[in-house]
Symmetry: C2
Subunit: 245 residues, 2 copies
Amino acid sequence: MIAGLGPGADDYLSKQVNEALANATDIVGYITYTSRVSDRKGLTVHSSDNRCEVQRAELALNLALSGRKVVVVSSGDPGVFAMAAAIFEVLETDPKRWRDVNIEVLPGITAMLAAAARSGAPLGHDFCVLNLSNNLKPWALIEKRLKLAIEADFAMVFYNPSSRSRPLGFERTLKILKNGCSSDRPIIFARAVSTAKETINIVPLAKAKPDMADMQTIVLVGSSQTKVFFHQNRMVAYTPRSVRD
Amino acid sequence: MIAGLGPGADDYLSKQVNEALANATDIVGYITYTSRVSDRKGLTVHSSDNRCEVQRAELALNLALSGRKVVVVSSGDPGVFAMAAAIFEVLETDPKRWRDVNIEVLPGITAMLAAAARSGAPLGHDFCVLNLSNNLKPWALIEKRLKLAIEADFAMVFYNPSSRSRPLGFERTLKILKNGCSSDRPIIFARAVSTAKETINIVPLAKAKPDMADMQTIVLVGSSQTKVFFHQNRMVAYTPRSVRD
């Protein structure tokens, strides 16, 4: 099984994911995520580093083939920029080898849904979702998609906006947004959502700065229709369901 | 609270949503969704018809203002084409009136994540999400977004692809896709996901037909990179994480 652990807090997990974890013999995943699974007798935890997705997928498939009850864990949802695609990529390289492995993907609450919930309802209308990391795709493609998303007037979600190894990507992204959108466009920086370190910061585009995002941040960009107002001293951003003719 | 009930089956609900339902005095929602909440002594259920979102939001805010513990329920996630935006739209019309109402949005597993999980990992790379209903926006805007999404080579998700009152929209959508994408582009029709009536149908674009989608269907469209293969007599669709230079 390939299961989503949700954004961070335990009470975001679905019942089926909790059951899968309780019945597993082996947990496989990036160490930051495996550490969120409670240890217990009879459970073997296989933690690996980031960017080892292919080796991790092979390990999980081989363990399952040997009869172990394996749960591969991802943060959020396993189908959104996470382990489900990596498993199927590896499976497709040699389908016969693993043909007896039953695979089930158990969805989870992906970071953008939790971030949106904590900031209002910025994804209440059409939107697009981009992984801003150019580790696995050319930067030119990210730039092209950003410009077309602005033209389409989508609200936008950025996963992996910034990291130490990619300090310039988000700076470039903000430049593209500032060229194409009005200066009051709401930008939401949602960091470590649902954990004790959670921060939600909503600023107009003119005040958005590259250092407002790190690897634990998800960034949401309103469409031209997104509104911001105060409720109980907290800023709320929402995108109305309607667009008038 | 504005809570997401997930795609259908009870075991997709998060612990926090289950707790909110258990502590509520009042449940408010579209009758199809309120019927999914178990009745119990002390619970008042306020069901209303589709397209009454504004009146429903006012009712919920007024009940909460009077001291009731209200949970507004949406299918899937309340922030994606659902009640959260409607509540904030109504709240913003008269913020002073409801300033004492505490509002919390509890995310849920939205239909696209469940549909993606049941078909493989089609949303493993950048994607966009469109509500194909033109009840609340002009059709020209939908068409513009579809064309730009094809140009951006996003995988796509369509909520509300078709209904009895809008028989032509999905037919037009397929025409636009057939004009802009190759005939083997995988199209996923995921109907009633996680319920006893679930069907997952993956076809190449050339074989996609308007009557394959109804109001209970979510449609996913692969990007140019999305691959399809068979595993255990079941078709799997996934979008690789990488795009080469």
